[in-house]
C-alpha cells in the first residue's frame, strides 16, 4: 500500500506549491524532492561521488604508483601543505617542506620533522612518474606532483617508504569497486530469486524461502573465511578479486530477495496490477511496467545499504590475511600491514585506510537511509 498513495500534500511538503506543477510531477521527481531535504544524505552522496571519481582516476590523482619507494622517507609522517614559509612570506603556489630525519637517541627510531629550509613547490597537471591509465594509455601527467628529485607525501609513508596517499587511492579503487560489483551481483540474485518466489509462489516460493532462512542463520564471517581460504593459492589477483566478490554477494542477496519477494506478493494483490492483467497485458509487461517501477527506488535504497557490508567484508577478509593479498592493494590489505599495535602507536598515519573505510561505510549508510526515507515516506523516521 505504501507505494500507492503518496501522503496528501506530499508535493506541497516538498516545496512544490503551484497546483499545475504538483499535478504533473512524476513520482520519481517527488522522491528526489523529498531526498533533497536530507542534508546529511545529500552530503554523503556528494562525498561518495568524489571518492569514486578519485578512485576511478587514481593513476592520475595519485602522485606515485603503489610500489614506488622513497628511501629518504621511511615511516615518515604526513606532510602539511603551506602557503606561507617560515619567514612568513606568502607563496601563490602551495608547497611542502622536505623531511629532516633524525634518529631518536632513546628509541633509535628514525623521526622526521619539517625541514623549513627546503621547499617542494606543488605543480598541478605536471609531468611526473609515468604510468598507464587503466592499464591502457601511457601517460605521465598527474593531478599534482613535485619537481623531479623532490617528493610529496600527504598521508606519510609506510615502512618501505611508499606513499600512503597513493596507496590509499589505489586501495580505494579495489575496495570501493568490490562494494559495487558485489552489490550488482546481489541485486541480480535478489531480484531474480525474490521475484520468482514472490510471483510464482507455491513450491518455488518455499524453496527460495528455505534457502534464505538457512543462509541467514549461518554466521557470515566464519563462512566467508572458510570459503576464501578455499580459493586456490595460485589464482591470479584478478581471479581472487572476483572470487571474493562472489563469496560476499552469495550471502548478501538474502535481505534483498526477502524484500523483493514481499513486494511482489503485495503488488500481485494490488488492484492496479489486476487491472493491468484484465486489460490484457501479459506477465512480462505487468512485471516490467507495473511491478518493478513501484519498488525500484526501494531496491536502490536497499542496495545502497548493502554496499558497506561488502566493503567491510572485503576489508575484514583481507585484514585477516585470507582475502586479497599483496601486491594487490586494497584498504583491507593496507590495514593488514598496520595490524601491530606498535605500528599504530608509532606511525598512526598507517591507519588512514581504516579512516576511509569508516567514512565510506558511514556515508553509504546515511545515503541509504535518506534514499529509503525518500522512497517510502511511511517508514519510521521518514517524513513527518
Amino acid at each position: 500500500m505504501s507505494e500507492v498513495a503518496l501522503p496528501s500534500g506530499a508535493g506541497v511538503a516538498a516545496g512544490v506549491t503551484d497546483r499545475e506543477t504538483a499535478a504533473a510531477i512524476s513520482p520519481r521527481r517527488l522522491m528526489w524532492l523529498r531526498f533533497r531535504r536530507h542534508r546529511l544524505a545529500l552530503a554523503s552522496g556528494a562525498f561518495l561521488l568524489v571518492l569514486y571519481v578519485l578512485a576511478a582516476f587514481c593513476e592520475f590523482v595519485a602522485p606515485y604508483g603503489t610500489t614506488t619507494r622513497n628511501d629518504d622517507a621511511i615511516n615518515a609522517p604526513p606532510m602539511g601543505v603551506h602557503f606561507f614559509d617560515a619567514e612568513g612570506r606568502f607563496h601563490l603556489r602551495p608547497f611542502v617542506y622536505a623531511y629532516r630525519m633524525e634518529v631518536n637517541p632513546d628509541t633509535w627510531m628514525r623521526e622526521y620533522a619539517e625541514d623549513t629550509g627546503t621547499r617542494h613547490p606543488i605543480r598541478f597537471f605536471a609531468r611526473g612518474e609515468p604510468y598507464e591509465m587503466w592499464n591502457l594509455f601511457p601517460m605521465d601527467r598527474h593531478l599534482f606532483t613535485t619537481d623531479a628529485g623532490t617528493y610529496i607525501h600527504l598521508f606519510g609513508t609506510d615502512p618501505l617508504g611508499r606513499d600512503m596517499f597513493s596507496r590509499v587511492l589505489y586501495g580505494g579503487r579495489i575496495s570501493l569497486s568490490i562494494g559495487i560489483v558485489g552489490v550488482v551481483l546481489t541485486i541480480v540474485l535478489g531480484i531474480l530469486l525474490g521475484g520468482i518466489a514472490g510471483y510464482l509462489g507455491g513450491l518455488a516460493d518455499r524453496v527460495v524461502n528455505k534457502a534464505i532462512e538457512v543462509l541467514q542463520c549461518l554466521p557470515s564471517l566464519p563462512l566467508w573465511m572458510a570459503l576464501s581460504a578455499a580459493l586456490p593459492v595460485h589464482w591470479s589477483p584478478l581471479l581472487v578479486y572476483f572470487g571474493i566478490t562472489i563469496i560476499l554477494s552469495l550471502f548478501g542477496w538474502t535481505a534483498l530477495a526477502r524484500q523483493v519477494r514481499g513486494r511482489f506478493l503485495a503488488l500481485r494483490e494490488e488492484e492496479f496490477v489486476m487491472a493491468a492483467r484484465l486489460i490484457g497485458a501479459d506477465t512480462p509487461r505487468v512485471i516490467r511496467k507495473h511491478m518493478l517501477p513501484s519498488f525500484s527506488s526501494h531496491i536502490i535504497a536497499t542496495a545502497t545499504l548493502a554496499v558497506p557490508a561488502m566493503i567491510l567484508g572485503e576489508t575484514a577478509l583481507s585484514f585477516l590475511g585470507i582475502g586479497l593479498r599483496p601486491p594487490v592493494v586494497s584498504w583491507g590489505v593496507l590495514m593488514f600491514q598496520a595490524q601491530n599495535p606498535l605500528v599504530i602507536e608509532l606511525t598512526p598515519w598507517q591507519m588512514f585506510p581504516g579512516l576511509f573505510v569508516v567514512l565510506t561505510v558511514m556515508a553509504f549508510n546515511l545515503l541509504g537511509d535518506g534514499l529509503r526515507d525518500a522512497a517510502d515516506p511511511y517508514s519510521t523516521g521518514g517524513m513527518k
Binding site: 492496479f272 492483467r277 490484457g280
Partner: protein, 272 residues
C-alpha cells in the same frame, strides 16, 4: 436462454483453502441490461465477479460468453487465449486510489489497453484517449498528470475510461461507487447510465448499497454465503422479498426518517 443472452454462468464454484466463497452459482445476463449482485460483506460477490472475468480461476462451473466470434467458454481458456477477449469484457474497480498505477500518467494509463491490443498508431490512440476523456467528462489537460493529482470521483472517471476505451460489451463494476461521497456517487452513477445508453454496455453491478442497486439495475441476484438465494426483477424483488435474508438486507437501507417506508431512489434527492 434468450437469443440476446451475453453471458451464462452455470454451477460456478470457488473455494479458498477448502472454504467455499462461491458455491454453485448460475445465472444469465442479457445484452444491454444491468444485473445487480447484492449481499452482505463476505458473501462472495467480488469472488464471483473475478471468477467470471478470470481474474482468478474458478474451481468448477461453466462461464459462457458471447464474443464477437461466437460463444466461448472462459473457464477453459489459457491466459494467452484470454487476452483477445479482454477487449470485450472489462472491470471497473472499487477503490479509485488503488486501481490506478501511481507511476503512470493519465495518458499512459488510458493508452495502455490500446497499446497492449495494438490498436491504431500513435495519433489514433491519442485521439481515442481524448475522445474517451470527453466521454467521462475530464479535461484534456489531465493527460500529463499523475493519479495523485485527482479527486476520488475524477480517479473513478479515469478508471471508467480505461475500462471502456477498448469498447467492451460486458463491464463488471465491483462496488465501483461505494468508496465515493454520496454526491460524487450520484454523478458517477449518472455517468455509467449515460455511457450504457451511448455505448450499449451490459453491466454486472456488484454493490451492497441497495438504494443504488434499485436505482440502476434491471434485475438483481441476492447472494448469501456464496450462494444465490433469490433473484428477479429489481422492483418486484424489493417490493415482495421471498427470503428472510433479502428482507434483512432491505431493512438495512438507511432512511432519513425511520417511519417513512422504503421508496425508490429519488434522482433529485441525490443531486442528479
Amino acid at each position: 436462454m434468450h437469443d440476446d443472452t451475453l453471458l451464462t454462468v452455470t454451477g460456478l464454484s470457488k473455494h479458498f483453502d477448502g472454504v467455499p466463497a462461491v458455491e454453485d452459482v448460475s445465472f444469465d445476463v442479457r445484452r444491454s441490461e444491468t444485473l445487480g449482485i447484492v449481499g452482505e460483506s463476505g458473501s462472495g460477490k467480488t469472488t464471483l465477479a473475478r471468477c467470471i472475468l478470470r481474474a482468478i480461476d474458478p474451481d468448477a462451473g461453466v462461464v459462457r460468453f458471447r464474443s464477437a466470434d461466437g460463444w466461448v467458454e472462459l473457464q477453459d481458456l489459457s491466459p494467452k487465449e484470454l487476452i483477445p477477449l479482454r477487449r470485450e469484457m472489462q472491470m471497473i474497480f472499487q477503490d479509485p486510489f488503488a486501481s490506478l498505477n501511481p507511476r503512470m500518467t493519465v495518458r499512459e494509463i488510458l493508452e495502455e489497453p490500446l497499446v497492449v491490443h495494438r490498436v491504431g498508431n500513435r495519433e489514433e490512440r491519442l485521439a481515442a484517449v481524448l475522445d474517451m476523456l470527453d466521454h467521462v467528462q475530464l479535461e484534456h489537460d489531465s493527460l500529463t498528470r499523475y493519479p495523485h493529482a485527482f479527486s476520488g470521483g475524477q480517479r473513478q472517471r479515469i478508471g471508467i475510461a480505461r475500462a471502456l476505451i477498448l469498447r467492451p460489451n460486458l463491464v463488471v463494476c465491483d462496488e465501483s461507487v461505494s468508496a465515493l461521497d454520496v454526491s460524487v456517487q450520484a454523478q458517477i452513477i449518472n455517468l455509467l447510465e449515460d455511457l450504457q445508453r451511448d455505448l450499449g454496455l451490459t453491466y454486472l453491478f456488484v454493490a451492497h448499497d441497495l438504494s443504488v442497486v434499485q436505482h440502476i439495475c434491471d434485475r438483481v441476484l441476492v447472494m448469501h454465503r456464496g450462494r444465490v438465494v433469490e433473484s428477479g426483477v429489481v422492483d418486484d424483488l424489493f417490493a415482495n422479498p421471498r427470503e428472510d435474508y433479502t428482507r434483512l438486507l432491505l431493512s438495512a437501507i438507511p432512511s432519513p426518517d425511520p417511519d417513512v417506508p422504503l421508496r425508490p431512489l429519488d434522482r433529485r434527492s441525490v443531486g442528479l
